[in-house]
Amino acid sequence: MAKVLLKGNEALAEAALAAGCRFYSGYPITPQTEILEYLSWRMEDVGGEFIQAESELAGINMVLGAAAAGARALTTSSGPGFSLKQEGISYLVAADLPAVIVDVMRIGTGLGDISQGQGDYWQLTRGGGHGDYRTLVLAPDSVQENADMMAEAFDLAEKYRHPVLIASDAAIGQMIEAVEIPEFIEHDIDKFDWTIKGCKKGTEQRKIQNIYYTHPDYETYLADKYAEMEEQEQRYENIQVEDAELVLVAYGISSRVCREAVEAARAEGLKLGLIRPVTLWPFPVKAFEEAKAAKAFLTVEMNILGQMVDDVKLATCGKYPVDHYGSIFEIPEYDGIIEKAKEMLKKGEV
């Protein structure tokens, strides 16, 4: 398929259809609304079902029903709306149901504002709802990745029978770039035996409920499931990490600025590198093995509290200084990042 110019949100929506998604229900909220608007007409074109739900609560619970019935089901939101979906995500996890939920992150707590942000990291990676769970989280850094990650997200969701989150942001969602939409694939709603379809006489009834009630070895099953995800699904991109004295750690829109920072710093002799987590959970601990020359790590995130710092400290076993370069009102500038890196190296912090 040839490249086309699309907004990140639209590319994500079209790629969901390409991945065989035929059910969407969501609620408008900036900056993800283009996904809903695009699918409001495009879903019909491909013979799928689109519902503008009365709330995020209804939206996520419609997705739960569609997933239980065998569809590749999607819902999308941002910040406040994503919070409302957390109960439903917890129920999806509890019942071993695959689905894809996108958070096009916006800035701030409470209502916040509609511009880009990366303040939902904790909510995305710690299990934002009640209970004892985590979900796989993919973090695209471009319109192309918005498109490429949809099929991967649905595949992973089905592989583990577990919801998969996509951590996009307002910048990635709103920017227009050239993108190649992946080939369309067919999804068969009868692909799995466990989906509800009607119980024939003499056959076993299908029950979609918290597997806590029914699984004969619940604790081991869950421990193994999460361990396998942590071992098998770490994804990352390392950029000039091997000889870097200071390694930046950033995902999504911030990682794009960090690429520039690495290049500019190296032009003036400062050895910066970049670890870009592509999965936020599992956190790509393996990426840090390559950082053999590192003296310190600096996360670059669009939040105030440095939400990823703890994960970097854990990944490096607390052996190195880890600091945070935060910017919430604007996307961080690369020269500010370089300055902060120089300060860290000069201070003798390292």
Binding site: A58, N61, M62, A69, A73, G88, I189, G198, C199, Q205
Partner: protein
Amino acid sequence: MRLVAPETVTFTESGFCPGCGHGLAVRLIAEVMEEMGLSEKLLTIVDVACGSLNIDSWRFDTIMAAHGRPIATAVGVKKVRPENPVMAYIGDGAAYSIGLAETMHTALRNDNVVTVVINNSLYGMTGGQCAPTSLPGQITTSTPRGKDTKKAGMPFRVEEAFTGFDIAYLARGSMADARGMIQSKKYLQKAFEKHMNGEGFCLVELLSACPTNLNITPVKSVERIKNDMIPYFPLGEFKDKKEEE
């Protein structure tokens, strides 16, 4: 009335209290499904409250959905499997309190799902708190001095709220005696017929006994339906789209 329950009624692990109405509703639904030849096709969505026990009471493919959300979940199921009959089975708390928005917007869209609401005038699973359907003066664990309608309002009457919507069917039956059961079964049958014809949203409310939480005997509990509940919750069909047309 039949003496032998349909084979889809399993009650393998039913935890219903003696005198509870849920078992009667299970049986009515199972009979209607068998008689309509839909037993192998029905997909059900139950709420997390007492009705959730039905996942082990009947042999239909079933989802146990979040509290108040079974109708939304049912809509998702029906869109994916339009050939199957799809039923949400919920209590009055789910339908008229926490899930009222879902009930109302499913009615507004006239989505083609059947909703069975078991109205026992209280929250059963959590131990008998005040519900939107609790009667004036009703003693509950959250209205120990009696429900004060000045604070909590009058009992929620689904027919007053929903007949203005362009829905396929709305009826209320009683499970207090044989006559009520026969009538209720007819309502359920009609709802499923309309559902299979693709006519849209069908809601059947069934007045049900809850002796445990009312702290009265099963016999008194069904008498209460007739003497105290029906005056507030009249029986009958309130919306029947095809007949109206």
